[in-house]
């Protein structure tokens, strides 16, 4: 077995460091402990992946396709290679092994395009040079002869007779059950009899909804440094969401055994799903191995828009029925997600969109279909909310429509149909933990409303900064009307459908300088969510120590799974807790061995570690941890799993597919300038059940951040793809707008803690649920203000003014 400690490449000038917290830090779970990486981050010393630097390093650059669908007739790299300062130019022909594709589930994504390109911005060639500008200029000299092919951009063009097949020779495990080879995966969910149930309906409401393509727009660009090792391997310092998933995809392409690809997580500047797929990882390794020099790649913002997958745009058709006393009778719906050129996470997104298509409501009779297309649009995959976001946008619009048709209050109507603990999902799975949907709606509705017309508050004429349009000074409030809207959503936590969703934690406990300390080592990607804070809190709680060191995440420890699906505190937090419990038992065994004869409680009592001591559950102190351990160390690495799930039946969608659900409700208050078509969101209140807030400060931060991303998609965020050419029109922060501090309102948060008995500490994944309901709440508020139907995100001025 290879020595895991061997580091045969020289480390870069800046590397991720241990995070040690001790002293006066607020201790355990339930406390708003401050981040252990906070000081590094506010002083500029935190080593992000784009900050990696190595003596003598080269810069890599990726040449990308300028067309969306084309045959590559030829590539001429000679002029680029002859450029002074250029060390290597690589194309498909230079790949070292027969493994030339990668992918999260389906290996359909080429490392470098071969034969053809399938989307605008697909990587075609790589350059390594001594200056980033040299690399860019050399790449511009590469000549590619494209023979353009017709593009497939929507369901009609993808499934039309004679439509070009995006992947001609599919052999993945979905191809056998999809109705067309340009469909990645399709999941129906049939329960009861929707046609029969529809006959009982007094009102039937249908709608067609369009959800635009959203971008994760994390601020830290795709970047990293690959350092070739003397053993022929490579050390990769990179920002990712799942080191071991990357490793599984990288090593075969390089032709290296996994232990020769040593990965270290470097500072991650946000992720939101956009770092689940590989970006520059393999490219940097290929250039480093070819040149024998460290190679750094840093995408600029333009390239970042091409370098990661986006949120699936979707078209959704919904039909609900209800009796006149307000009970939902049935749901029929069809959800078409555009997965773009490569599969990425599309199959799992389909599973989520279909199984969560009903929302947090009781509907016994459903006929649901969700599918994802292959097209020549940009590839789409994971983004915060993962398939549940698109469905929530549609079902919440429907709830308002049905309530309106029945003449009922929209919140009361939702509460009347709200699911609760014990409700069966459309998949037949019972919801076996608290599901406080009606209560969350009640709480968010009960929050005080912000005062009206705040722009007049000063009493000295309108403060234009508080008006829609703000500092543009285009109005003084003449056409401004207010609206209020509500929405609620349900999101699954963790990976579903039978996935072995485990995590690994290594915990070491020892005495250093007379003080007991714990060291926690996992491969969890800290992407900003605060996992490092929570892991230290868990170790303090379980081991009774004050000082905890969090080691950098790397592949020397077992997989932690992905930092996504709201799963990381549950699963890796659970793994840290579990390992700590085993460490505690071994520490107590040492204590029994040394001191057992001195006090009967060692053998008979329930013993705890608290405040650096071994204590009985009655509070009696038996020993100092320092005396128990002396110069011994307890060091364990263990895997931990949550309850297993099972795949959905391919025809009926039945199955216990999900681990846990999380719920959030929003109330949006907006002011709309009906003359200008401008919207200002005044307040976006949220109530969310988190099971147990391990770190209340971080929980509120996650909820506010998720809420703001949902606000963004409601009123401004969309990657615009030309429907004729499938080219991306707005790959920049000039043209793709994310909310600024002026666009983002006050976000009061009401946190509910109803423990889930199946989860560690009763916790419930937090990060994604608030992204679901904030978008439909804002839309509902704009509809309430304007009376317009508005079935599309984002709402643009022309939708409000009819121009």
């Amino acid at each position: 077995m290879a020595d895991k400690e061997t580091r045969v490449a020289t480390a870069p000038g800046r590397t991720p460091t241990n995070l040690t917290q001790g002293g006066r830090t607020k201790a355990g779970i339930g406390e708003s402990t401050l981040r252990p990486d906070g000081t590094l981050k506010v002083t500029g010393e935190f080593a992000y992946s784009s900050d990696m630097w190595h003596e003598d390093m080269l810069w890599g650059f990726t040449l990308r396709s300028t067309v969306a669908h084309a045959e590559i007739r030829s590539i001429d790299t000679s002029e680029a290679l002859a450029t002074s300062g250029v060390y290597a130019v690589l194309t498909y022909d230079d790949l070292p092994t027969d493994v030339k594709n990668y992918g999260l589930e389906i290996q359909d994504t080429p490392v470098l395009a071969h034969g053809k390109v399938r989307h605008h911005g697909e990587p075609v060639a790589l350059v390594a040079a001594d200056h980033p500008e040299t690399a860019r200029r050399a790449a511009a000299k590469i000549k590619i002869d494209y023979a353009e092919l017709p593009v497939v951009t929507d369901e009609a063009s993808a499934t039309a007779e004679g439509a070009p097949l995006i992947h001609e020779n599919r052999d993945d495990h979905h191809v056998g059950h999809v109705p067309h080879p340009n469909i990645v995966h399709r999941q129906p969910i049939i329960r009861g009899n929707a046609d029969e149930a529809a006959k009982k309906a007094d009102v039937i409401v249908s709608g067609e909804y369009v959800f635009g393509m959203q971008d994760q727009a994390f601020l830290g660009p795709e970047s990293g440094l690959a350092v070739p090792g003397e053993d022929g391997g490579v050390d990769l310092y990179v920002a990712t969401q799942w080191l071991h998933s990357d490793l599984r995809q990288i090593a075969p392409v390089l032709g290296l055994p996994p232990e020769k690809v040593r990965m270290t997580l470097s500072g991650v500047g946000g992720a939101f799903g956009g770092r689940e797929d590989l970006s520059m990882q393999i490219h940097a390794c290929l250039l480093a191995l070819r040149t024998g020099k460290p190679v750094k790649i840093v995408y600029n913002r333009f390239e970042s828009f091409f370098g990661h997958v986006h949120r699936h745009p979707a078209k959704l058709w919904y039909e609900h029925g209800a009796t006149k006393d307000g009970k939902l009778t049935h749901l029929k719906c069809r959800i078409v997600l555009d997965g773009g050129a490569y599969a990425s996470a599309s199959p799992a997104v389909v599973g989520n969109a279909s199984s969560l298509a009903v929302g947090p409501y009781v509907v016994d009779d459903v006929d649901i279909e969700a599918l994802a297309l292959y097209s020549n649009n940009p590839p789409c995959g994971a983004m915060r909310g993962f398939g549940a976001v698109q469905a929530c946008f549609a079902y919440e619009a429907q709830m308002d429509k049905v309530a309106k048709k029945l003449g009922m209050d929209p919140v009361a109507f939702r509460q009347l149909n709200a699911m609760e603990q014990g409700t069966l999902m459309p998949t037949g799975q019972p919801v076996d933990s608290p599901a406080p949907v009606a209560e969350l709606l009640r709480r968010v509705k009960a929050m005080p409303l912000p005062p009206e017309q705040q722009w007049l508050a000063a009493g000295t004429g309108a403060d234009v900064r508080a008006l829609p349009g703000g500092l543009s000074n285009t109005t003084h409030g003449e056409d401004v009307v207010r609206g209020i809207g509500y929405a609620v959503g349900i999101k699954n936590v963790g990976f579903s459908e039978g996935f072995d969703d485990y995590s690994t934690a290594r915990v070491r406990m020892e005495v250093v300088g007379g003080v007991p300390v714990a060291t926690v080592h996992t491969a969890m990607a800290e992407v900003g969510q605060g996992g490092v804070t929570v892991h230290a809190q868990i170790a303090r709680t379980e081991l009774g120590v004050q000082q905890v060191t969090i080691q950098p995440a790397d592949t020397r420890v077992g997989s932690a799974g992905s930092t996504s699906a709201s799963r990381q505190t549950y699963v890796t937090g659970g793994a840290v807790k579990n390992t700590c419990e085993h460490v505690r038992e071994q520490v107590l065994d040492i204590g029994r061995r040394k001191f057992g004869t001195y006090h009967p409680a060692w053998a008979t009592a329930e013993l705890l570690l608290e405040g650096g001591k071994v204590v009985t559950d009655g509070g009696e102190v038996l020993a100092n941890l320092a005396d128990v351990l002396e110069d011994e160390a307890v060091d364990l690495e263990l895997e931990w799993r949550h309850r297993p799930t099972e795949p959905f039946d391919l025809h009926t969608g039945q199955g216990n597919g999900h681990v846990q659900y999380s719920f959030a409700a929003h109330r949006a208050v907006v002011e709309v300038d009906t003359g200008l078509g401008l919207v200002k969101v005044i307040e976006l209140a949220c109530a969310q059940d988190v099971g147990k807030a391990l770190n209340p400060l971080s929980v509120v931060g996650q909820i506010q951040g998720g809420t703001t991303q949902g606000l963004g998609v409601a009123v401004m965020e969309e990657i615009i793809v030309d429907p004729k050419t499938a080219k991306v029109r707005n790959p920049s922060f000039t043209d793709y707008l994310i909310p600024t501090i002026l666009d983002t309102p006050t976000i009061p948060v009401d946190v509910l803690e109803l423990a889930d008995e199946h989860a560690p500490y009763g916790l419930r994944g937090v990060g994604e649920a608030p992204t679901l309901s904030s978008t439909p709440a804002v839309l509902a508020a704009i509809r309430n203000a304007t009376g317009l139907e508005l079935n599309k995100t984002p709402v643009r001025p022309e939708h409000l003014t009819g121009t």
Partner: protein
């Protein structure tokens, strides 16, 4: 070309600078100061904000040659910069007695009541705005943080009692994708409130 300028109070020289290089590139890649962040490199996100002769600028939009002979302050120098600005001692950072709750209830003073006395800042390793960002939970992934800190520090230098609208206006050029900005507002309010506490504590 060679570019000589002052960074965080120290004279620095960069050699072999290509004419197209930005101040951001020179700081990050030639001077070993990666604190200013490269989030968009097109002047849209504010992550690379530095003070150039006291004025906040996006360092990605400043050609390196433009800073010849001038004075730059980056996030790495923010604590020293704040310390030099303040004269005299003060309470320890983070221990001025203002809680987040109090800071959230804090109101900007009316303009006519503003004192022009210099705020006392802590002699600690962090500037007050850096400490406030940590204490308020305004740091998540942290990539936007350096730029926000430089911009917020400049705001508080101009206006030690900013209203929420003032804070929003001053930070509107700095994108953050993680926090939803609420805790960033909290942090600026906290730093302002702590500044007032110190002034009040000295009988101002």
């Amino acid at each position: 070309m060679r570019v000589t300028f002052t960074v965080n109070g120290r004279r620095q020289e960069a050699d072999d600078v290509w004419e197209g290089e930005s101040l951001l590139y020179v700081l990050r890649e030639r001077m070993g100061l990666p604190g200013s962040k490269n989030a968009c490199e097109q002047g849209e996100c504010g992550s690379c904000t530095v003070r150039l002769d006291g004025v906040p600028v996006c360092s990605c939009l400043v050609a390196a040659g433009q800073v010849e002979g001038r004075d730059v302050v980056t996030v790495e120098g923010l604590a020293d910069f704040a310390r030099q600005r303040a004269e005299g001692g003060g309470c320890a950072s983070g221990a001025c007695g203002t809680s987040i709750d109090e800071a959230q209830r804090w109101q900007a003073r009316p303009a006519d009541a503003q004192s022009d006395e210099a705020a006392d800042l802590p002699r600690e390793t962090l500037s007050p705005i850096q400490q406030a960002f940590i204490d308020a939970g305004a740091v998540q992934c942290g990539f936007c943080t350096p730029g926000l800190l430089v911009a917020a520090d400049e705001l508080l230098e101009r206006n030690d009692s900013p209203s929420d609208a003032d804070i929003r206006e001053a930070l509107s050029g700095n994108l953050c994708r993680c926090t939803g900005y609420e805790k960033i507002l909290d942090a600026v309010r906290l730093a302002a409130a702590r500044g007032e506490d110190r002034t009040a504590g000295q009988g101002a």
